[in-house]
Every structure is written in structure tokens, then in C-alpha cells.
């Protein structure tokens, strides 16, 4: 039976997201209440996904409405971007990569290796998990707009 992600497993991803936005976007972001992705209909326009494997399995996803994505990437690369072009897609993947890499250092006991980033484009798409683990979402608010961090993580087996 699937169970949700444990708090001690999602915290490193929350910290990594806060740290990444603070240092690379110079933006203070605020995490909201953690929710179950299942049945929540969290739909956004662009998502960066990284797979986690090794001593634990999981995924980390950053999912943005278009407007937040454009503002975030503009801050990230230091150039104003106004359309969802290849730069934005590449940057959202790289952002997910940095967050996953930064979270890894608080999860060293699992010897996690990370996959390549995959970016999903599509108006109002949802990112759900499979049967093995119920992902949790952390809604973040920031001066750049709202976005979601979605994490699935399974340490046993």
C-alpha cells in the first residue's frame, strides 16, 4: 500500500528550493502547507522533473505557471525572457537539477544519484505519482509568483 513521503525526506528538498531561490534568484520564497498531490488537481504550465535513484527512489519536480516561469528564469539567467522559448525550457530543467543536487547533500545516507532533467510543457498539465509512493506538494509563494515543489521519495526496497 502506498504511503506519502515522510517529513524528514521532504525537508531537504524544501531547504534546497529556498536556498536555490535565495542565492540564484535573490528571492525569498515562502513555503505553504504541504498537501497530497493525489486528488489535488495542481495544474501548471511548465515542469522540470528529476528522477532520484540509488539507496532510495523518488522524483523531484518544480512546476510553474507560465508567468512565474518567465519571471523566475529572467532572474535566474540575468536576462529578461518574455516567451516560453528553449532558454526557458532549458533553465527550468537546470533549476530542478540544482535543487535535486542541493538536496542530495542532506540525504547522503541514501547514496542518491540523479537522472537528467525532463521538462514538461503543456497548459494546465498535472504531475502525479505512481502507486508506490504518494507524492507531496509544497506550494511556494514568492515575489516572482506561485509555484509548486512536488516530491516523491521511498527509502525502503
Amino acid at each position: 500500500m502506498a504511503s506519502p513521503v515522510k517529513v524528514e525526506h521532504i525537508n531537504p528538498f524544501i531547504s534546497a528550493t529556498l536556498e536555490t531561490f535565495k542565492s540564484m534568484m535573490r528571492t525569498t520564497i515562502t513555503p505553504g502547507k504541504i498537501i497530497l498531490v493525489k486528488g489535488a488537481h495542481l495544474s501548471y504550465d511548465i515542469s522540470g522533473i528529476i528522477g532520484l535513484s540509488g539507496g532510495a527512489k523518488g522524483t523531484v519536480t518544480l512546476s510553474f505557471p507560465k508567468i512565474t516561469a518567465l519571471k523566475t528564469v529572467s532572474e535566474f539567467i540575468g536576462e529578461k525572457v518574455v516567451t516560453m522559448d528553449d532558454t526557458v525550457k532549458d533553465a527550468i530543467g537546470e533549476l530542478a537539477n540544482i535543487v535535486a543536487g542541493a538536496a542530495k547533500k542532506d540525504l547522503t545516507q541514501y547514496k542518491i544519484s540523479i537522472s537528467l532533467p525532463t521538462v514538461i510543457i503543456g497548459e494546465n498539465h498535472e504531475v502525479q505519482g505512481g502507486k508506490e509512493c504518494i507524492p507531496l506538494a509544497v506550494p511556494f509563494s514568492s515575489p516572482l509568483g506561485n509555484f509548486n515543489l512536488i516530491v516523491s521519495f521511498k527509502s525502503e526496497g
Binding site: I120, I121, E132
Partner: protein, 156 residues
């Protein structure tokens, strides 16, 4: 450009898709011509994605039009849904998990580990792979409808 990624590395995923469909869905899935993903304009309703890491990194995705996903997963689970019910999404994740798990055994040279699946739902979404990976797409047909298998790999 990554070195060492060849068409042969996609074959285990093609074989495991055929095997998974034959054994677990109970239908024959026929692979079409393999192509480079950059040459294929692909949009889907639902995709199951799994991240790969090890001596090669990347991802494998199975993408379906809604009607194929519902029909395949109903047969897979012996269910009777007529929409993208939550259980259909779970089943898509499970399918890609089984396909990736099978394929991994034939890719021992890369010592691949797989992540948990993500399931993407949204009409006409696109999957964009990391730029430096080599990405292949294999279209499949089966009696329940068409779908695509996509494999993206980069040696590390």
C-alpha cells in the same frame, strides 16, 4: 554530443514494452520505425516517465492518447473506467515502471538504477529531454490504440 549511446541501447526498452504488453496487458504491441525524437513532433494526453541514472543517465517515457491509456489500463487492471480515473494514472506509472525495470536487466553495462515514476496528465503536453542526451522515439500500435515509447540517454 554524448558518446557511446547507440540504437542498440533502445532495443531493451522496445523488447520490454512488447513483453510487458504481451504478458501483462494481454495484447500484442507492434513497434514501428525508430526515429530520433528531434524529428518527431509529439503531443500526448498522458505520459508515464521514469528517470534513469548510473553509468548512463536519462529517462524513459510511455506516452498515450487518452483513449489508448484508458483501454490499455482497463485491460491491464481488469477494470472498466471510461475516463482518466486516478487508478488509470497509477496504472500508467506502473506500466512504465515495469518496462524500465525489465529493460534495466539488459543494460548491465550501464548499471542503471531507476527512479519512481511520474505521471503527466494534460492535453497536448510535450516532453523535452535534456539537450545533451540522445533521444529516440518508437511508435507502437496495439489493438487498443497507438502509443509512443521514448528513451533518452547520455553516458556519464
Amino acid at each position: 554530443m554524448a558518446v557511446g549511446i547507440r540504437v542498440e541501447h533502445v532495443n531493451p526498452f522496445v523488447t520490454s514494452t512488447m513483453e510487458t504488453f504481451a504478458k501483462m496487458v494481454g495484447v500484442e504491441a507492434k513497434p514501428g520505425k525508430l526515429m530520433l525524437k528531434k524529428d518527431a513532433k509529439l503531443e500526448y494526453d498522458i505520459s508515464g516517465i521514469i528517470g534513469l541514472s548510473g553509468n548512463a543517465k536519462g529517462m524513459v517515457a510511455m506516452s498515450f492518447p487518452k483513449h489508448t491509456a484508458v483501454a490499455v489500463c482497463n485491460k491491464f487492471m481488469s477494470a472498466d473506467y471510461n475516463d482518466l480515473h486516478r487508478d488509470i494514472l497509477d496504472a500508467v506509472g506502473e506500466l512504465v515502471n515495469i518496462v524500465a525495470g525489465y529493460a534495466k536487466r539488459d543494460l548491465t553495462e550501464f548499471a542503471i538504477n531507476i527512479s519512481l515514476p511520474s505521471v503527466i496528465v494534460g492535453p497536448n503536453h510535450q516532453i523535452i529531454d535534456a539537450k545533451d542526451a540522445v533521444s529516440f522515439v518508437v511508435p507502437f500500435t496495439c489493438p487498443l490504440g497507438p502509443f509512443h515509447l521514448a528513451v533518452s540517454l547520455k553516458s556519464t
